[in-house]
Amino acid sequence: MPSLKDLRNRIASVKATQKITKAMQMVAAAKLRRAQEAAEAARPYSERMGSVLANITQAIGGGGDAPALMTGTGKDDVHLLVVCTAERGLCGGFNSQIARLARDHIRKLLADGKQVKIICVGKKGFDILRRDYASMILDRVDLREVKTLGFVNADAIAKKVINLFNEGGFDICTLFYSQFKSVISQIPTAQQIIPAGIASAPAAVTDGGNAVYEYEPEPGEILSDLIPRNISVQVFRALLENAAGEMGAKMSAMDNATRNAGEMINKLSITYNRQRQAQITKELIEIISGAEAL
């Protein structure tokens, strides 16, 4: 049985922890709002990019001059996985969810006799995947110092991937990130970015109708300029969704922690009060029985 002093100390320490988790929750909430705004601001670009791409692919009509980034190498022996996770922990199952999805994917690929290469974005995913697949990790991208995610960050990652592709480093590239559905639910997602799976026809009908476009320069040339850009955009979107998801997960994790700390404090104070009362009663009994003995 812990003494009264021990109990008092414990209550004090749990209270301090509760204050910290509460503060972290509020910080996460503020950051979440900012991250959500950023994700929303980026949406028009990726939407337009999607419809333009659909338009132009239609114009080319899957002809032979489509760049390799879009058609792929025709093989699927070497897979590159770009795993995007958070830089910091304390956000519930957020990082491990993404890592688990990636790990399942890797296991399946390995079972099929494929070769797997990994690029880790974010420290946490690297830490988890390093345990089992250290030899496959080609590179890691650290975004720790980055305060606000910019397009340049995503562009750098995409450039790395594209360079590797041009050197023949892999055949298929899949992006792992967490889709931000709501504050309490983030869905780990795997998205193939090379060869680019482009949603065809339906998106093509914009306000221009089925107008015949003029292309300047040639459609093929535009496309070869567009596809790398599209990959950057996809990476950027993944990073933004991840950032929002991380903050959402952190917020709910910290909310839980705060609530748990509250429960713990209640329990501890009951024990504390009970023990104090027991001691008072004991002292009273001692005094009374002493008086009766006289």
């Binding site: 990726s46 333009v52 338009n55 397009f151 914009t206 015949v212 040339e221």
Partner: protein, 135 residues
């Protein structure tokens, strides 16, 4: 007074402009072009340069864009820029950094095609610098 049409300038980070305009001058990859209402559908890549927007209310705004492409239909024009800033907010240091990077790219280009591409990009950047510095 010319007829107005919808113009949107979008960068990956945000939507910069979305309003009714009279005309837009776009630095297309194959030369500058002015877009007005009812323009034939054109899709073009753009080079680093200045986009001049004449709004329907009579104002004129200028933006610096670094690469991207434009999607022009009779009803409107969408400019997807890799990065875009208003001319008055241009960060000289950032521009200098881009030029430096382009120089390095041109220096370590492996084949002639890549080199000429990098050098072209570099010259576009320096022209752009010259165009906005006095502003």
């Amino acid at each position: 007074m010319a007829e107005a049409f919808k113009f949107e300038l979008v960068s990956p980070e945000r939507l910069l402009v979305s309003e009714q305009v009279e005309s837009v001058v776009i630095p297309g990859a194959e030369g500058e072009m002015t877009v007005m209402a009812h323009h034939a559908p054109v899709m073009t890549t753009i080079k680093p340069g200045v986009v001049t927007v004449k709004t329907a209310s009579g104002g004129e705004e200028r933006y610096v864009v670094f690469g991207g492409f434009a999607d022009i239909v009779p009803a409107g024009c969408t400019l997807l820029a890799e990065s875009a800033v208003a001319v008055k907010d241009v960060d000289r240091a950032d521009l200098a950094r881009r030029i430096q990077e382009a120089k390095e790219d041109a220096a370590d280009a492996k084949d002639d095609q890549a080199r000429s591409k990098a050098e072209q990009f570099l010259s576009q950047l320096t022209t752009l610098e010259g165009a906005i510095l006095p502003a």
